[in-house]
Amino acid sequence: MTKWTMVADLRRCVGCQTCTAACKHANATSPAVQWRRVLDFETGNFPNVGRTFVPVGCMHCSDPPCMHVCPSTATGQRADGLVTIDYDICIGCAYCAVACPYQARYKVDEPLFAYGGDRQMQNEMVREDPARLGVAQKCTFCSDKIDFGIANALTPGVDSEATPACVNSCIADALHFGDGDDPNSNVSQLLVENATFRMHEELETDANFHYIWATKAQEGLAATDDAPQPSRGIGGVGAAAPWLQQHWDWRAAGNFIGGGTGSGLMIAGAALSLQGAPVGNWPLIALGFVSLGLFLVFLETGRPLRAPINVFLNPQTSWMTREAMIGAILFPLGLITYFLGSADLFALAGLAGAVYLYCQARILTEAKGIPAWRHSANVPVMLSTGLAEGLAVYLIAGPLLEQPETTLQPAIAAMLVLLALRTIAWNRYVGAMAVDAPAATSEALDAVHGPFHYGGNLFAMALCGIMLIWSDLDGPTMAIGVIVLVSGWVYKYSLITQAAFNQGFHLVRTPEKGGGTGPGGKPGWGSPD
C-alpha cells in the first residue's frame, strides 16, 4: 500500500512563506486562500521566549473528519490516502470546513482577483476554474503531480516533477514528502531517525503530516512532563490561535433554531396528544419551523441546485445526510397526521421528530473543528433545549389556539422537568467548555449564561412552579413559553455564530535548535493571545 505523507522539520523552517506562495502559484488559489501556510508561534514570556514556524494545511488524515461528515460524498479518500474533493458533487455546505480541526478548508463563492473588483489579470484568466466556486477546497498534496509522476515511473518526494509544489519550493529543506508505508522511503527514514509529533493527536484523526522537533537521541534528553507555556500567535489568515469560524453564519443557526423548535414541537405535541390533547394544527406548525430552518440553511449552501439531491448521498457516516433523510420522512408523516388528525400517526411523527432532533445534535458533535460543538456534553443541551423550545411554542400558541386547560397544565409540568434537565445539561456543558475549549469560547458562553441560565432556565422554572399552583392565567403561561423559546434561540445563535471558535493550532514541542527543546503551546487555550 501507499500512504502519502508530509514531514515538516520545525528545526529548519524559517517561516518565509515561500511554500505558501509556491502553493498559490501551483494551485492558482484565490486571494486569502492558502492551502499551505506557515504559522508564527510564540511561546513563553519575556525574556524566555521561543518563536517557532509551523507549516500547516490539509493533514490528509487517515481518519478524516471532513470526509465522514460530508453529506454528498464529494470528500473522499483515495487508496493512497489522499483526501480528495469532487468539485462536481460538492454542495458547498461547508460542513467539512467546520469538521476539520486544522482549518485547512476554504470556500469561495464569487470569483476573487488579487487586485479586486473585476480587475482580472492574464494569469488569473488562464487559470480560472469556475468548478471551484461555491464548493469546498483544500490542499491536494498536488495530486496532479503525484499522478503524473506515478504514470511516468517517477517517485513523488524524490523527483521534483512528481512532488508537491510546497516541498519543491522549500528553501530550508524543511518540507519532505513520500510514501509513509514504504519503510525505505525518505519520509519513513526521517520518522525513524527523528522525534516527531502530529497535531491534535487527541482528536484521533490519524494525520499523515508529521513534525520533526529533534533527533531520536535528543528526544530522550528532553523533559516531557513540563507544562505547556503561554503562547501567542498572530491574527489574520496566519493566525495560530482559534478564531471564530466563518463558514456557518446566522442561516445555519436558523436551521438549528427552526429544526430544534419544530422537531421539539412535533415530539411535545405527539406526547400531549397521547395524553388526550387534540392533534390540531401542531404537526403543521412543527413542520413550518423545520421548513424555515431548512430553507435558511439551503440559502447558505454554495451550490443550492445540487443540494436537494446530493445531500442524500452519504447516509453511512454523515449526520447531515441522516437529518435530510429523516426530514424526508418527517414531512409526509407530519402532513398526513395533520390531515387525518390521528394521535397514533402523531406519535410516529413525534418519533421522527426525535430522530431529527438527535441528528441535529450529532451534526454538531461531528464538527470536530469546533470545540464548542463537538463536545458530547452539548448533546443533552441540544436535545433538552429543542424539546423545551417545542413545548414553549405549545405554551405560547396553546392559549391562542384555545387548547384545553387540561393539556396546558401537564405541559407546564413537563416544561418544569425539561428545564430542570436543561439546567443540568447546561451546567455540565459549561463546565466542560471551561477546560475543553478555547478561552474565547468560554467567554462567549459566559455572555449567554445570563439570559439562558438565569432567565431561560431558573426564572422560567420559577414561573412554571407558580403556574402549577395558580393555573388559571393565560399570560404567564405564554410568558414561560416566550422566555424559554427566546433563551433557547439565543443560545443556538450564540453557539453557531459567537462561541464557535475553531480548534486553532498546537505546537506540541518547541524544536531543538541548539538550545534545548521545551513544551510547546496552544495559543488561545487558557492563555493570552
Binding site: Y115, M125, R127, G514
Partner: protein, 912 residues
Amino acid sequence: MARNNAGDVKNVATYCYQCVAGPDLYNIRVENGVATEVEPNFDAAKVHPAGGRICVKAYGLVQKTYNPNRITTPMKRTNPNKGRDEDPGFVPISWDEALDIIGEKFRSVRAEGLRDEEGFPRLAASFGGGGTPTSYMGSFPAFLSAWGPIDMGFGSGQGVKCYHSEHLYGELWHRAFTVAADTPSCEFNLSFGANIDASGGVCGVSRHADARVRGMRRVQIEPHLSITGANSAEWVPIKPKTDAAFMFALINVMLHERSREDLDLFFLKHHTSSPYLVGPNGYFLRDRETKKPLVWDEMSNRAVPFDTPDIDPRLEGAVQASGYEPGADEERWDYENVDCMPSFHFLVENVREKTPTWASKICDVPEETVRRLANEFVDHAHVGETVIIDGRELPFRPVAVTLGKTVNNGWGGFDCCWARTMLACLVGALEVPGGTLGTTVRLNRPATSRQASVQPTVDGFMDYPMNPTDAEGWNDRPANRNAHQTLVPLAANSAWSQALGPTHLAWMLQSETPDEFPEAQPPDIWIVYRTNPAISFWDTGKIVDTIAKFPFTICFAYTPDETNHMADVLLPDCTDLEGLQLIRIGGTKYVEQFWDHQGFALRQPAVEATGEAKDFTWIATQFAKQADLLAEYNNAINQGAAGVRLQTDTYDFALHPEREHGVEEIWDAICRSASAEISDGADNKGLEYYKEHGFRTKPFSRLNWYLFPELVDQGLRFELPYQERLYRVGKQLGNRLHEKNIHWWDKQLAEYSPLPNCDNFPALWENALVDNFDIDISDFPFWLLTSRSMQYSWGNNVDIQLIKEVADNVAGHGGVVINAAMATKMGIENGDLLEIASPLAATRGRAVLREGIRPDTLLMVGQFDHWSTPLAKQFNLPSMNKLMPMLFDLTDATGSSADLVKASVTLIEKTA
C-alpha cells in the same frame, strides 16, 4: 484550477536578483504565452548553493508582470507644480515624444557643461537595492559610462539601511564588503542582530538550516526576537546600540580571564600586526632603511622589520628600540632606544576596564551571559587544528561573529566591526575554514576577485584605495553632492563609492550649506530606477520636499509611487519576466553566496512585454542616440560596461561603434564573449545557447572562499588590532579640513583613533536629539527599531498583492511591535491604534503585542507609509523613516547613521 498541461506550455529559465542575497536561478512556467508559475530550477541544483531554489520574493513576479496598476506607456507631467499635494497630471505620450523631450534636455545640459558652476555633475542618478538594479538595466551602465560625470550621491537608503561601516572597514581589513560566517563548517556563531534567516536569501537560509541541524550553535544578540533569533539556540535581548560594549567585554574575558595559550598566538604573531611596535606618538616605529614597521624578535632580542624570516615576535611587554615614527603629513620623529610597546599591548590595555560587569550595566544583559558566551567562543575555536581544502592545509576555526544592520552602521559601527574582526583574530578565525569571512569586494578592484584585489603595502598589509588626505592629493572641491572623496577617505573612488559616501549630505545640502562648503544646486536632470527614496530614506518629509524642487526628473516607473509623483517623464521598462540580460553568477557574492561554481545566467523574455514597456537595453541605446553618444556607448559596451568585455587578446565580438545595434544583437555578442571567457576561448556559444540552457558555469575552488591563503602567499598580515593607518589618515583629513576652516566634521574625525573607544552610544543618540530638538528625552522612553522582511526587502514589491498576503502571516507586518507586558501596563491591546512620535515627526500603526521584544523597544518591520503607490497606500502601516532626523551629530566618520530613534507611544483608539 489545476495546472493546464494542454496547449503551449513551456518552462523558461531565468534569474532573480531582486535583492542583494542573490542572484538565484528559477524557471517561469508559461501557459499559452501567459506566465503562471514560478518554480525552482532543479537543472541548477548541482551548481547552485541552495539547490536551484528561489525565495518568496520571486513568486511575486507573475503578479508584477500583470499588475493592473502598472504604468504601460510613457507619460509626461502636465502640472508644472510639484509636491505631495499636487496632482502631477500625467498624460500618456509616445516613446518618440518621450525621447524627444529627454533628448532635448540631454543635449542642452551637455552643451552647458557636464558640471555646474560649483563643480557638481548636472546629471544625477539614483538606483536602489544595493546595486542589484544593474542586473535589470541591461546596457544602461554603458550609457552612464558614455555620459561622463554623474552624481550618484543621492542616497535612497544607504547609510541608515545598509551595512555601512562593515562595507568600508570590512574591505579595509579583509576584503569584506559584507561579512559572513563560514556556515557550512562553523560550530558557533555569535550573531549580533544579523537577521540572516530573513535577509540571507535562499543561500543564507538553506546554509543555516543545514548548519542548525548539523549542530551549529547560533546565539542571537538583539533587542527583539527576529526570524533569526527565533531559529537560534539562544536569544540575548540586549539594549539597542550597546553591542560594542558586549563585544568589548567578550574580548576582555578572552584577554583578561582566559589563558593566553587558549588564543591563537601564532596567528596573532605572524598573521596580524599585533607585534608591530608603536612609538611614543602613536605611530608604528619603523626601520629607517626599509621603512617597514619593526617588531621585537624574542629569539635575537632585537627589533627587526616585521617580515624578517624565522623570528618569534613579541606580543607584550615594553622594549627599547631605535627607528623613526612617521606621523601625519610631514611629521616624523627619530629615536634611539626609545621605550615602545607592541600593538597587542595597547589592545590589552584598551579593554582592561571593559569587563563583563561593566558591559552588563550598559547592555542590560547578565554578566554571566557575557562571560559564558566568551568562553564558549574560545572553547569552540579548535585552536591548533587544521583542515585540507582543495589540497591545501588551512587552519580550522569554526567560530564566527556576524553583525546586522544598526549594529554595523552609524556611530558604534566602527567599534563593532573592529571588535568582530578582532574576536576572530584572537583565535585565528579570520578568513579561514569555519570562521568569519568576507564575501566580495566593491571598493577594491578588480571586483570579480577578492584575491586579485590583494596588493601589498610596505607595512605588510593589503593596500587600500583611500581617497587622498595629503595636502596635494586631497579633493577640496567635492566631485559630487555627498562629498565622499572629500570627507570619507575609506569610501575610495570606485564605481560604487559615490553610493557609500554620506548620502544624506547630498539631500541636506539642498537646503543648508555648511560653513566653507560649496553651495549645491539641484541636478539639472535626475534619473531614478528601482528606488523610492521618498519612502526608503530617513526624514522622508524633507526628502519629498527636496525632490519636488528638482527641475527635471526621469523615472523608470512601474506604478505611480511617492518619488515619481514628482517626475517630469515616466518611462515603462520591461519587468523581470520581459527583459533580456546576461549576468555573472557564482563565485562569492554578498551575504551567503558562496558557490563551488561560477559563470553566467540569462534573464530572457518569458512573455511579451506589456503595453509599451521597452527592454532596458533598447532604452539605453535610444538615450545614447539622443545624447549624441552612440559611439561612446558602443565602446563602453565593448569595454565591458554591460558585464563582459567584448574584446580581449583571445576573442573579439566587439560591436561596431558607429552603428545602432538591436537588443538581441548586443546580448548575443555579450553571450559569445561570456562563452569565450568561461571556456578559455574554446567556444563562443551565443544568445540561443543561453536561452535554451539558462546558465553556464565552471568550477570555482573553495579555496577562493578564504582570503588567508592569499595573504600567506604574499607574506601579508591582517591590519589588526592597531589602526595606525586610519589614525594618520584622520589626522591628515583634520588638517585639510581645518586649513579650509571647516569644523563641522570634527566629531567625525574623532573616530580615526588607533583603537576604538567604545563610547556610550545610546547616550550619543539621546544627546543628539536633545541638542537638536530641545526636548526632554524622558518624553521619548522607547527605542524604535526596524527589521528586514524577507518578503519585501529590496523587492520593489510593496504593490504586489501576493507578497502582502503571505507577509501578513509573519508577525510584525501588521503594525508596531510592542512588548506584551509593557503594552498591558499602558492599557494597550492587540490591534489598538497607536501614535509613535519621535522629536521629528509621528506615525500611526496598530499595536502588535509580542513577548519577543524588550520592554523599552518598539519595532516596525519593513518600510511603508506609502501615500501614492497603489495597493500599498491602503495598508495604513507605520514607518520609522519619517521619524529619523538627518543630523551631522548622528553621522559617523564613514558618513552613515543607523535606523534608530527615541520615541513615545500614545494610544489613539481602542480596537473594535
